[in-house]
Symmetry: C2
Subunit: 385 residues, 2 copies
Amino acid sequence: MNASPTFAADRQSGRQLRVTEKALPQHNRAHNRSLVLQTLFRRGAMSRADLARESGLTRPTVSGLVAELTDDGIVAELGFRDGARVGKPATLVGIQADAFHIVALDLSSADRFVGAIVNLRGEVIDRAHVDLDGAVGEEAVARCIRLVDELSTRTTRRLLGIGVGTPGIVDHEGTVRTAVHLGWYDLPLATRLTERFGVPVHVGNDSNVAALGVHTFGDQKHGQSLMVITIENGVGVGLIIGGALVEGEQFSAGEIGHVTVDDDGDVCACGRRGCLEVVLTAPLLAARLRSADAGSRGAVLHEAGRALGIVLAPIVSSLNLNEIVVCGPRALIEGALLRSALETVRNRTLSPVTNGLEMRYAGDDLELAVLGAASLVLSAELGVS
Amino acid sequence: MNASPTFAADRQSGRQLRVTEKALPQHNRAHNRSLVLQTLFRRGAMSRADLARESGLTRPTVSGLVAELTDDGIVAELGFRDGARVGKPATLVGIQADAFHIVALDLSSADRFVGAIVNLRGEVIDRAHVDLDGAVGEEAVARCIRLVDELSTRTTRRLLGIGVGTPGIVDHEGTVRTAVHLGWYDLPLATRLTERFGVPVHVGNDSNVAALGVHTFGDQKHGQSLMVITIENGVGVGLIIGGALVEGEQFSAGEIGHVTVDDDGDVCACGRRGCLEVVLTAPLLAARLRSADAGSRGAVLHEAGRALGIVLAPIVSSLNLNEIVVCGPRALIEGALLRSALETVRNRTLSPVTNGLEMRYAGDDLELAVLGAASLVLSAELGVS
């Protein structure tokens, strides 16, 4: 394993470009470089001429950037185009998928940390996990480090960086401000991992990271808006609006677990009554299902889904989004709970707003959350999103 | 009144620029032109050298764009800088505020359409209104046209365009798909006004337009997120997230009026029970206050505010926004209703998410909604936002 080359840090600016920002020349260059990578990333290998057409850049600009990216090892010539017309066949250039690998971690699960080695095309190369055994605080950090250690031995490629999705509120420095179930408060996770492994580290909230995963690699069907809900030790939401992640003014967007759903509900750990998490977390639901007789299990799931729907109805109405993807234990979420949540949202909103709404189980949630963590690194280091 | 010059249509593309989009040369030029206007718009007149520094563009690019904008009459030389150091004093260039005027309409009020003549700096030059007298359908369109006629006589400048904020669901063509209280269904309002007045027309939902008004011209205090709530014949929300308006997948973002707040509430016009608009619209509240005795008026306002807070709590939690501005009749909204709404949001959410939340009355709501309508035109025609 080698540290990421120096170009990586320069690329971070590519992520920030907005039309309202200053159009400094180096921004334009980073922008164009990202555009080339983005095009190859999304469309696959192509000739330089096609790349110019697709990206809207000039041929000389494309050639210069391809040369630079080839020197960095990220792009390579990958042979000739099949079925070329008469004349010289065009050389295809494409992402060198395994030029770098990414270590991607998903810390959202209640009982274990999972991770993967991911390549530049977002393909999972290998997987690992460590059981949590109730570890919190420094012991949980140690298990996180052990997981990165374990994954690092699975690749001989240079690491582009480490991406982490963690429960809790995470700021732009990668400090976990609060992750109650892990006992992490103001934990500088990105700094700790950077010091330990010598590569760039990017940390985000688990639901936000899962939303990035679905948006970047998943089967996102509709437009530019997406909600991903993670149901594990708590309930969190990740929102993509207009193609961009919503982080919130205090990095707390998506913290819906303690919204009141029932004024007469049970007392919550937070001290108030009837929060969503009083009827909907993975451990709680699992316990209730275990103690319920066969005939009342459906009612338990229906009640949990209804509580979720009550919280979602105003959010869906205010954003008019069409797609909600739910991550967490499949046995709890898929089926009765999801049906009840969707039905509740429909019953509590105006039909033009929610007619188009679909809610679905994430399928292989591990994969999307891990890929989302990898996309944090791709986005920050290469400007690919 | 003269029609807008031909440059107007070309500028529309400036609005669409995103980092993920193709960086075609004409986009870059529109981008740079918008950047120059944006800088002058926000910072006021300055020298070409300062403009280059502020915008991050090169001196020759700035000089070329200033020459082009001067030819179009939008920018002019406005004298010399005071207190210049020794040597030739720098010539200041700035927005020629009255080169064009904008007709801006706010159709949100329950009893009248209001409008203004606004200049390129967003200053109101003159105002007018027409009473609605319960007009709906074509008669309401006729009153809208009469208001534009009236306003057009108040200026001799060329019109950059007409901006309209209307209740209901509005698509990108400026067609009002549904505005129940005005009896408008699939009404091509932008096309109708363009045909009648021969200038570009931009139509948006009233709450969205009010949000643009606060964001562009108002006293927005916090970050990049803002919610504006309009309480008139209905209750609508306009959201700015990450500096951009949220329109929704079916242009229906912000339609919170028919979210259920009370499962046992009164039957609503929509056929369901306990919608927000069963306890909170301007006419309904006014009627309840008239029939209530002095001692119970506070309770009527408190109940309405609480219903609003119940709907807002999940939205604020999912977006973690800090600023909510409420428009509508001052006598109903300012005071007890707002206090109750904020208290309810705080009581029903996690404190780290809503500690920073402020809710305030819009003050002069007419002004902001009208200025928002003007900003639709500034944004679409000049790329200034």
